[in-house]
């Protein structure tokens, strides 16, 4: 349990540093910026109390905001993602599966995890870009940025999962 917590804290710190020092400077084709820190929210085990998930989500969002100077934007989106995570996970887990597990390719399989990841990241990114734009005046530009970022974030997370799977 403590080991799992320490692992989560470690992943969170690394992800936040990577986000602020590297990924925030990437604007792929002028549109896509991967928001890799959502991976930390997705790494919370399935039956963690919802209030803990929410606080953790809010904390990660707030920390990302302080590094990227977008106070409130990530906090709103990641808190909502933390709230959305359990119902999203239930969409891709068998109804009779009552095991507590950390979502990943090793516990859910590649296909189910990829679909779960896409839905969760899409949900987060739509909220994030909506709050950031705070307007529908350039909705096509916002949608392009959002979808490009979803693709990039999903690809990066799947790459990390693949790297850990090879290690295992």
């Amino acid at each position: 349990m403590i080991l799992q917590l320490l692992k989560l804290v470690g992943i969170t710190i690394i992800l936040l540093l990577t986000q602020s020092l590297v990924l925030n400077h990437i604007h792929f084709l002028g549109y896509a910026t991967p928001l890799i820190y959502v991976y930390a929210v997705l790494k919370v085990s399935r039956f963690t109390p919802r209030w803990q998930q929410l606080l953790f989500g809010f904390f990660i969002g707030w920390a990302a905001d302080t590094f990227t100077d977008t106070m409130g934007v990530s906090a709103i989106a990641t808190t909502a993602l933390a709230m959305f995570m359990t119902p999203a996970l239930n969409l891709f887990v068998d109804a009779d599966n009552n095991d507590d597990f950390v979502p990943g390719t090793d516990t859910m399989g590649w296909s189910a995890y990829a679909r779960f990841l896409f839905v969760a990241v899409l949900f987060h990114h739509i909220l994030y870009f909506l709050v950031e734009a705070f307007s529908f005046s350039d909705w096509s530009g916002m949608l392009t940025s959002c979808m490009a970022s979803v693709a990039l974030t999903c690809a990066l997370i799947m790459a990390i999962e693949a790297a850990f799977a090879r290690k295992r």
């Binding site: 905001d65 106070m71 705070f134």
Partner: protein
Amino acid sequence: MNRLLEFIKKYNYWFLFVLLEIIGIIMLFRFNNYQASVYLTSANAVSGKLYDMSSAVTSYADVKEQNRELTRQNILLENQVAQLRLKLEKMNGDKEHVDSKEKAIASLDGFTLLEAQVINATTNKVRNYLTINKGYRDGVKPEMGVVGGRGVIGIVYLTSAHYSLVIPLLNEKSNVSCRIRDRGYFGTLSWSGGNTQTAWLNDIPRHARFKVGDYVVTSGFSSVFPEGMYVGKIEKVFYSADGLSYQCLVRLGTDFGKLRDVNVLLSPHLMEHKAVEDSARMADLKEIN
């Protein structure tokens, strides 16, 4: 109660979720100029619309007070215009004529305006009266002038502690000394029943030059009204029965059917003026006897 507590316990994370999102939104508006400006702009549009709606409602509540204030301002402005007009005439020459007029000016400096409301009025008789809600306790005395935002209304006839009876222009007993503005001819305004929007300006000499549409204002010959207070407009001109003068039909400025806010002209010189007039009358009587 237990069910409520159970419900709160079961879904506590929803409350936490709402709380955290509110904190996030506060942070968003507090630290991000862009979102704050967009929010404020739309909030201003919404609040502007709300203020519009509320002011449309509350303005009705203020109408009474605004009306009173407008009436007062109108009277002051009208008097100011009359005085400026006289000054202008003076600068343009005709000094003797103007000097005599200036002596007759009882400017509003000498009068105090006392706001009052008409609480009862008749317009369908030959002797109509108005009752106003100010009496001798407020300083109202008989023979003080009463004016409204659209001109002269009448003269105080009787007073009690808190109420006064006014003889309006629409009373056959009413006689107000008037002149035709910019022409200088004087006459007496009276009413003989019938149309409540018109009265007669009598005794305008046959040699007088004026035209339909000229303004009729108070002459200022008495201490009841200051000079230049608007009374009405000449609508038609007739010869008098004896053929020695003109008789003008004047469309009155005041709509007596809609009267509410009026002002009593408290004149400090009223008693003095009246005493002089009374002694002159007594002297006349003695001479006749």
